[in-house]
């Protein structure tokens, strides 16, 4: 395993969209090892009352620099938004089993919601051939980094629930539309990260279309190392039903393996 603890130095911490921040670190160790879909576990500096680390998908990782896109939603991320360049932040990573390398015999379809676009960026950046990104959200503000995918030569299709950007509707609508038109000509391979409802919908599509879908799950985590069992997901792998640690065996699972809870 190549997980390490690293004292990363903040290069930049600035608003990226109205809701998300870009946090860029100098973290030569972790950035070098980072694979698509993996995450880092961030210790909130100077706040010993905030005990648990916070998990964030690795957005970019190159030449010693690591970045994440995070939304300020609670006490940990609110404190993160106050950090400034030069400060040291303790990172644990890279963690987890991320996305596999896209199968070049298939059509690579990324499906993203919320921070999912960040989580999927490295998959696109390191894919041999560009594919398509379907990204959605409530509105324009939820579309995080379409331009980064476009710059890689990817075909970016957007959908927002309020119609403020791209097609009016859910991201699965535009995915379905694509499938209806192209599904026969090329077998898709799906890579998804986003809200639970979207993930379930993507898993549903994979089943209907009889294709592979890689799903990145988001459960609450304490250790990030497979030790505390906070983050388990019921899966069926090789015919055996069991609980897998999302932090270690995930966050990415094949859709077929995942045994969804009723809710």
């Amino acid at each position: 395993m190549n997980t390490q603890l690293e004292k990363a130095i903040i290069i930049k911490n600035e608003p990226w969209t109205p809701e998300y921040y870009l946090l860029e670190f100098s973290a030569p160790g972790i950035s070098q090892k980072a694979a698509p879909g993996q995450f880092v576990h961030v210790k909130i500096p100077d706040r010993r009352d905030i005990l648990l680390r916070r998990p964030f998908s690795i957005f970019k990782a190159e030449s010693g620099t690591l970045s994440i896109l995070y939304k300020s939603v609670g006490r940990g991320t609110r404190h993160m938004a106050k950090l400034h360049a030069g400060q040291a932040v303790n990172l644990l990573g890279p963690l987890g089993k991320g996305f596999p390398i896209p199968d070049t015999n298939k059509k690579t379809l990324l499906v993203a919601g919320g921070y999912g676009m960040a989580a999927l960026y490295l998959t696109a950046a390191r894919a041999q051939t560009p594919g398509l990104l379907f990204a959605g959200g409530a509105g324009k503000k939820d579309i995080l980094c379409a331009q980064d995918f476009t710059a890689l030569g990817w075909d970016v299709r957007l959908a927002t629930e309020d119609g403020s950007c791209g097609t009016h509707g859910l991201v699965t609508n535009i995915l379905d539309a694509w499938q209806a038109r192209n599904g026969k000509s090329s077998e898709p391979e799906l890579f998804a990260c986003g809200p639970m409802g979207m993930l379930k919908a993507v898993a549903q599509r994979a089943k209907e279309w009889n294709c592979t879908a890689w799903i990145s799950l988001d459960h609450y985590m304490a250790c990030g190392m497979g030790a505390c069992l906070a983050c388990v997901q019921k899966i069926n792998r090789d015919g055996e039903e069991r609980l897998a640690c999302t932090c270690k065996e995930g966050p990415v699972f094949e859709a077929r393996e995942i045994i969804w809870e009723e809710s």
Binding site: R48, L51, L52, N90, Y220, A222, C223, A227, L229, A230
Partner: protein
Amino acid sequence: MNQPDLRVNLAGIAMKNPVTVASGTFGYGPEYADLIDLNRLGAIVVKGVSLNPCPGNPLPRIHETPAGMMNAIGLQNPGAKAFIKTYLPFLANYDLPVIVNIWGRTIEDYEGVAELFEGEPGVAGLELNVSCPNIKEGGNSFGTHPDLFEQVISAVRKKTTRPLLVKLSPNVPDITVFAKTAEQAGADGLSLINTLPAMAIDVETRRPRLANVVGGLSGPAIHPVAVKLVWEAARAVNIPIVGMGGILDPEDALEFIIAGASAVAVGTATFHEPTTVLRIIEGIEEYLLRHHLKSIAELRGTLKTGAR
């Protein structure tokens, strides 16, 4: 100056230093082995193991609180046999006493799991987690009912020749009653404290933060509660004590030792900073040096409560 002697004989378990990890916060060994040299630990206490596999509780299982966290993992574990097969051989590669935390829902469960480990040379001792409800006795907790408490310890004592630590529940009006009962029932040592029963609510959804509704509070928030209970227990019994609850800094561990603990266990702090356990060992050593104490034994139970 000479290095102070950190060694501790914990109820027959030879520890190279007084620092171990709290059950359930360090997995079964492999989880942190790439980050931390396991050979440096005084001992490892593994996640609670039961006779049969246990799936644990639904998610969410954890929730963060001010200077603490709550968990309701629900004692998920692969069962004693799988533990023996998968983890004991791994742990045998280290110069590390293995203390197995065991639990059950009936006295027979406890007996069964204790017996299983009798044949395992890789097990240095057992830690009895009694904070579980007895399903046969209407769900009364073994840890807070003196009779059940006495019964389960006596029963396990008959089944094991290994050093037997009993892990006390903090949730009782007088810890000395349970400490003494454990000693009389044959415990070789005590571990305390387990988590405090707690609960949190998401006011927006009006749902409990944990699927299990109630969970156990751990972390620095509970440290002063733990120190008080360790101090009281240490004065009530003659068997050694492993102090735990909220250790984050070396000083927190030293408080337990000064209060009378022979060893300490680092729990929740490992999630915050995986290397905490090493920093605690170093901090204790540094303290002994600075205070010109030749061994950890010279510090144990030296609280001065007289007039100032």
